[in-house]
């Protein structure tokens, strides 16, 4: 990859890292769709800011966008508190409206300026390295890399400073309130961070794919660990890794880089959905299968143990009889017996089963439980 390409990947990785930090808390606090809302509505702030100052690179735009992001949160909360609509419907009412106003403003009044809806919605990370940060003649690299770097650092500082408080608010909001940690204020700060990150990220990856970067990696990480810190680290890792992988994929197809990053994150999510060590579908299926065999062997051992040394032992320990009393199909029966013999729980001779000492011990344990 060329230097230019590395810069594109670096911007993508930085965006992903910045998004994963607040995203972790959104996922855990069941506010994921709020990121969808905020990433859409910040557009209105950007448009208003753009009309106010006439430039797309003014810091005022970030301030305006953050304000509209918080306005979104406030409006959703207001609707919810009016108790006329539920929270999810409130989100679904607020953001399309603000976003529509923004789109109409753009198409009516900014048609010729280089602020078009497609760019905002979809982003074009490939162009990121063209806008350079130059300080007294020195080329310091892409401007967006510095901006996202600053946002990521700010986000990391916020999370590090308030880690304990955020953790408490996430897992026990009631206790946080009771202990005087003011979860409402902290929540507002978190939403402000989400807004700032969304604004910073939107011109690189577009507003919809910010959602992929904010929610995808933490959701995948949630399936891999039980620890908040580890989850956050994994989320950052998955997000950052999606940048080079997505970039290479996009280059192969000559297609959208941001889209390919989102697709990579999708692959990561589906992989952990399927293959996560304890919670993946495969692990769950294997556990079920193991439990089925274990249970069958327990039944068999208990049955033999109950009749061990009694007059009926001979009839009760015959394979055909066992098949009948336990209601097992012949194939399943022979598999269970095979496994039990292999484990040294019992021995078979001409159709009769005898528990070994180990098998008796096993059966005793089963029956005690």
């Amino acid at each position: 990859m060329s230097g230019y390409e590395w810069e594109v990947v670096a911007v993508g990785a930085m965006v992903a890292a910045a998004c994963a930090l607040p995203g972790t808390f959104l996922v855990l606090r069941k506010l994921s769709m709020m990121s969808d809302a905020i990433t859409h509505t910040v557009l209105l702030g950007i448009v208003i800011g753009f009309f106010a100052v006439g430039s797309l690179s003014s810091p005022l735009l970030i301030a305006g966008a953050t304000a509209v992001g918080l306005l979104t949160v406030y409006m959703v909360d207001l609707l919810k508190r009016s108790r006329r609509v539920a929270e999810d419907a409130a989100i679904g009412l607020v953001f399309p409206l603000l976003f529509s106003v923004a789109v109409i403003l753009i198409s009516r009044y900014a048609g010729d300026v280089h602020l078009d809806v497609d760019a905002v919605l979809l982003g074009e990370i490939a162009l990121a390295p063209q806008d350079r940060l130059v300080a007294s003649g020195f080329d310091l690299g892409p401007r967006s890399l510095w901006m996202m770097g600053a946002i990521a650092t700010g986000g990391a500082a916020f999370v590090a400073t308030f880690f304990k408080e955020l953790k408490l608010m996430t897992f026990d909001a009631g206790l946080a309130e009771a202990l005087g940690f003011r979860p409402a204020a902290l929540n507002l700060a978190l939403m402000a961070l989400v807004s700032v990150t969304a604004v910073g990220a939107f011109d690189a990856v577009g507003s919809i794919l910010v959602v992929a970067l904010m929610i995808g990696p933490p959701a995948a990480a949630l399936l891999l660990t039980n620890r908040l810190g580890v989850m956050m680290a994994l989320a950052v890792g998955i997000g950052v890794a999606s940048a080079p992988i997505g970039y290479l994929g996009a280059r192969r197809l000559d297609a959208s880089i941001a889209g390919a990053m989102a697709a990579t994150i999708g692959v990561a999510f589906v992989s952990s959905f399927l293959f996560a060590p304890n919670r993946g579908l495969v692990a769950i299926a294997r556990r079920h299968a193991r439990q089925r065999w274990e249970f069958a062997q327990q039944m068999l051992a208990a049955h033999l143990f109950n009749h061990d040394g009694t007059p009926e032992q001979e009839t009760e320990s015959h394979v055909g009889h066992i098949e009948k009393v336990l209601g097992w199909p012949p194939q399943f029966r022979s598999q269970v017996i095979g496994r039990a013999v292999q484990r040294g729980l019992l021995s078979e001779s001409s159709g009769y089963l005898t528990l070994t000492d180990r098998g008796r011990e096993f059966a005793r344990k089963v029956l005690v439980h």
């Binding site: 769709m33 419907a89 009412l93 409206l97 959208s256 697709a263 959905f273």
Partner: protein, 387 residues
């Protein structure tokens, strides 16, 4: 005005208005169930998830026929719904995160495919990207037939499974205890929602189609407590938003359809939230104010009664001495006016006296027997007079 009158004759406008009304109607009806089942954002997730289906349908068939693209969209959206359901059922990832992941990842994949398609030699740029924001002006008459057929099918399903869906919306636990196949019914309902969404994509676009699922239903909810009425009102609101949004957008240059429809629909929501007869915020505020006023004036009534009891000879009491009964009694003059209007007190010289009904109400409010003797009153009220 002329533009408004001439639309009936204008072929394009008629097509656009009819088409948008139709999709508004269908999404309004299906949105009702989504809203009641707390799945309002499912529409958002599924409309985004439809994008790769549109692109894949084009890649496989190289056809821009709406039927083909809509089918592709429906399959992708349906798979998205299945994935959300499966993730929520099998893992600790909650609905919101599952929806956000499916929404954004499917959209990302769709974007990869769309940008890939745009660089194919025979694709041409036009057509597919209108699915982002929709272009009602591009609706053709044959698209209407397709929308009518698919949307009509979805509405028919709702009509046939009305009882079941009603139960599903209000008490799925009871439905399941009756032996109804809950999961199967949920799938059918989701399929109908998917159809409502995909027929709107061409006109409204994937980004804003979700609003047409949420807004009409949320507005309709304010006007009624009956499901049947809500479905009809929601469908009506959807149709009105669709048609008027599309018409406004067609008659003003550079006004995209999807956003305009959303603005009309949101306007209806705001009006409904404010002015609906029983649940409206305005009527609620008025009722609350009237209640407060009544309560405040009844406090004054009781005070006047207690004051009269403290004097052997019943005589009028001045506004000042009534106001002096407690530390805070609000606007006593206004309260006395209210009480006069209700016929509970009457002016007498420089002061106020209770009327007969006023005294009865005061006793009622103090939970005293109406025919209590002076001695009984003294016992009952010992220590009750406010300082």
């Amino acid at each position: 005005m002329e533009a408004l009158l001439s639309w009936v004759d204008d072929y394009t406008l008629r097509t656009v208005a009819l088409g948008s009304a139709m999709l508004g109607l269908v999404s309004g009806v299906l949105g009702t169930f989504a809203l009641l089942r707390r799945q309002s954002l499912l529409g958002d997730a599924l409309s985004h998830a439809a994008l790769p289906g549109i692109a894949l349908a084009f890649l496989f068939t190289r056809s821009k026929s709406i039927l083909v693209l809509v089918m592709g969209a429906a399959v992708a959206a349906w798979l998205g719904a299945l994935l959300i359901d499966s993730v929520v059922r099998n893992t600790r990832v909650k609905t919101d995160a599952a929806m956000a992941v499916v929404l954004s990842v499917f959209f990302g994949v769709g974007l990869v495919l769309l940008t890939y398609i745009q660089r194919l030699p025979d694709a041409g740029k036009s057509g597919l990207d209108t699915f982002l924001f929709g272009q009602a002006a591009a609706l053709l008459e044959r698209d209407l037939y397709l929308m009518a057929a698919l949307g009509g099918g979805a509405l028919l399903v709702v009509a046939l499974l009305w009882k079941e869906f009603k139960l599903l919306a209000f008490d799925p636990g009871f439905a399941s205890s009756l032996g109804l196949p809950i999961r199967g019914l949920e799938r059918v309902l989701t399929t109908a929602l998917v159809i409502a969404i995909v027929i709107g994509l061409q006109a409204v676009g994937v980004v804003l189609m979700s609003a047409l699922v949420v807004a009409p239903a949320a507005a309709a909810r304010q006007w009624t407590n009956r499901l049947s009425a809500m479905v009809v009102i929601s469908g009506g609101f959807g149709a009105v938003s669709g048609a008027s949004g599309a018409l406004i957008s067609s008659s003003v240059p550079r006004l995209p359809t999807g956003p305009m429809i959303v603005i009309v629909a949101s306007g209806i929501v705001i009006l409904s939230l404010l002015f609906a007869p029983r649940r409206g915020l305005v009527i609620g505020a008025l009722r609350k104010r009237a209640g407060r006023k009544r309560l405040r004036s009844e406090v004054v009534l009781v005070d006047l009664y207690l004051l009269s009891l403290q004097h052997e000879v019943r005589h009028p009491h001045t506004t000042e001495s009534i106001a002096g009964m407690r530390y805070q009694s609000g606007d006593v003059v206004a309260s006395l006016d209210t009480l006069t209007a209700r016929g509970l007190v009457a002016r007498s010289g420089a002061g106020w006296v209770l009327t007969e009904t006023g005294e009865r109400l005061a006793k009622e409010l103090l939970m005293l027997e109406q025919d209590a003797s002076e001695a009984q009153l003294a016992v009952a009220l010992a220590g009750r007079a406010p300082r």
